[in-house]
């Protein structure tokens, strides 16, 4: 455990010494230097503990939660998301599935569970972030293969595609403005082409991710919320249809790629 702290401190010192103009290449170098030393390892451990911790009025653990492969099966579950669940009769992403299990199995209040899914800068990270990080790690190395058998899952993809290209707001931005071409960047930040298989696979396969600049693990739900903020739109809600539809669009475009999350981002 100590090793990780040490490696990370070293990197923080080294990062301060690189010139400001350094771009994403710096983070590739970090990966080469640090190998598997992603600070997300601590969050993975925390997520696993939370899964097995009795909580809520029912004082139940999440072991009875069915992530699509049967109650309690966590290995390889994440790469099949978003997917249709007959018990809820809707397509869910991992975040909304966890909320479903927290309310139905643990008996927790929906509003309380939904109140603060993503941490603010300077926070320690939320329960949702920890659980998602661990569950993504439980799929590390697995092939991305979201379910597209149910009509609702296919409809979710179509909706996601339409929202991806939907231009609105004072700047007329859609996701496509920034993410439909390859080898583009905004300022120095590289922009993945999320309409292509390779761009979607790399992006979808690397979230949740540890954000070095924020010292936190972020989920894909947060990533979308923050891109909508840049898009000048109102605030995206966790587990909302738009969030699930866009995740379906990206995951299906990414199908066949490899899950590498938790990733490491600037």
């Amino acid at each position: 455990m100590k090793r990780h702290h040490f490696g990370f401190t070293l990197f923080a010192v080294w990062l301060c010494s690189v010139p400001l103009a350094a771009d994403d290449g710096v983070f590739d170098q970090y990966r080469d230097l640090m190998g598997d030393d992603n600070p997300a390892v601590f969050v993975i451990d925390e997520g696993e503990e939370l899964w097995f911790a009795p909580q809520g009025p029912e004082s139940a653990t999440l072991e009875a939660c069915d992530l699509g492969l049967g109650p309690g099966v966590t290995a390889g579950a994440y790469v099949r998301f978003p997917r249709y669940f007959a018990d809820a009769d809707v397509v869910m992403d991992l975040e909304s599935r966890l909320v479903y299990c927290m309310t139905t199995i643990q008996g927790r209040d929906l509003d309380v569970v939904n109140a603060k899914p993503y941490s603010l800068r300077g926070d320690f990270g939320t329960e949702m972030e920890a659980l998602v990080t661990w569950l993504a790690a439980e799929s590390e190395g697995a092939t991305i293969a979201p379910e597209q058998t149910h009509a609702a899952e296919r409809a979710m993809y179509t909706l996601g595609e339409e929202i991806f290209f939907y231009r609105a707001g004072p700047h007329d931005f859609s996701c496509a403005t920034c993410h439909e071409q390859s080898d583009m960047r905004i300022r120095l930040q590289a922009l993945p082409d999320l309409t292509s298989h390779s761009g979607a696979a790399e992006a979808w396969g690397s979230w949740p991710a540890y954000r070095i600049s924020q010292g936190l693990v972020r989920t894909m739900g947060w990533r979308l919320r923050d891109c909508f903020r840049q898009q000048r739109w109102p605030e995206l809600q966790m587990g909302s249809e738009v969030s699930i539809a866009l995740q379906t669009y990206m995951a299906v475009n990414a199908a066949g790629g490899t899950m590498t999350a938790p990733g490491l981002k600037r």
Binding site: L159, I163, R167, M184, R187, P234, E235, S240, V242
Partner: protein, 202 residues
């Protein structure tokens, strides 16, 4: 072969209808998925004619007559500077071009909006942090300051769709992102021979 072609035609027709018909449904989905935050209010989810026309997923066939009409409409509604002065102060223009803030839920609404030109364009050759979604504008001033050039550039900034419908560039004047004075300052940043945009790299 004939059956195959018919099949494709039907599939195409169906997808076009799906795109146009789902509009109401999509608006309902959007309303349920977002909440207003600070200045980012819910009315921002509603689309105007340009936004609707330019939201077709890639590869969707577009109605060319409609697009031509729309483009002409945009051109007619461009407001040129009433005093006939197009050029402000390039130094203030540099600030506008570099400022990426404005109109986000996280931005302070009492501060001026930025034009964020550097997010998409290379401008001064010494600035390395530039984006590539738009073409490089380095040396733009070499095009001169003829009336035609001034009007072209102003129109491009006021409403890019007047020339290039469905361009990725924001409508800085038409959407009220920048003030008339800010537009003049950015114009000077592009066109003034003394502006760093028109100087060789150091």
């Amino acid at each position: 072969m004939k059956a195959l072609v018919t099949g494709i035609t039907i599939a195409l027709a169906a997808s076009v209808t799906a795109w146009t018909m789902a509009s109401d449904e999509i608006e309902a989905v959007l309303r349920n998925s977002f909440v207003a935050k600070n200045q980012a209010t819910m009315d921002r989810l509603e689309r105007d004619a340009v936004q609707s026309a330019c939201s077709a997923p890639r590869g969707m066939p577009l109605d060319n007559d409609m697009l031509t009409t729309l483009r002409a409409e945009r051109l007619n509604s461009v407001v040129l500077p009433p005093d006939g002065q197009y050029l402000g102060d390039w130094q203030r223009g540099a600030e506008v071009a570099g400022n990426g803030r404005g109109l986000q839920s996280s931005d302070d609404p009492t501060q001026p909006n930025g034009g964020n030109c550097y997010a998409c364009h290379q401008l001064a050759p010494d600035e390395v942090a530039y984006g590539t979604l738009g073409p490089s504008l380095t040396g733009y001033g070499a095009r001169g300051q003829s009336e035609a050039m001034l009007q072209y550039t102003w129109t491009k900034l006021w409403d890019t769709h007047a020339y290039n419908l469905c361009s990725h560039m924001p409508r800085f004047g038409a959407q009220g992102i920048l003030t008339e004075q800010q537009l003049k300052d950015v114009m000077a940043y592009l066109l003034d021979p003394a502006s760093p945009v028109n100087q060789a790299a150091e």
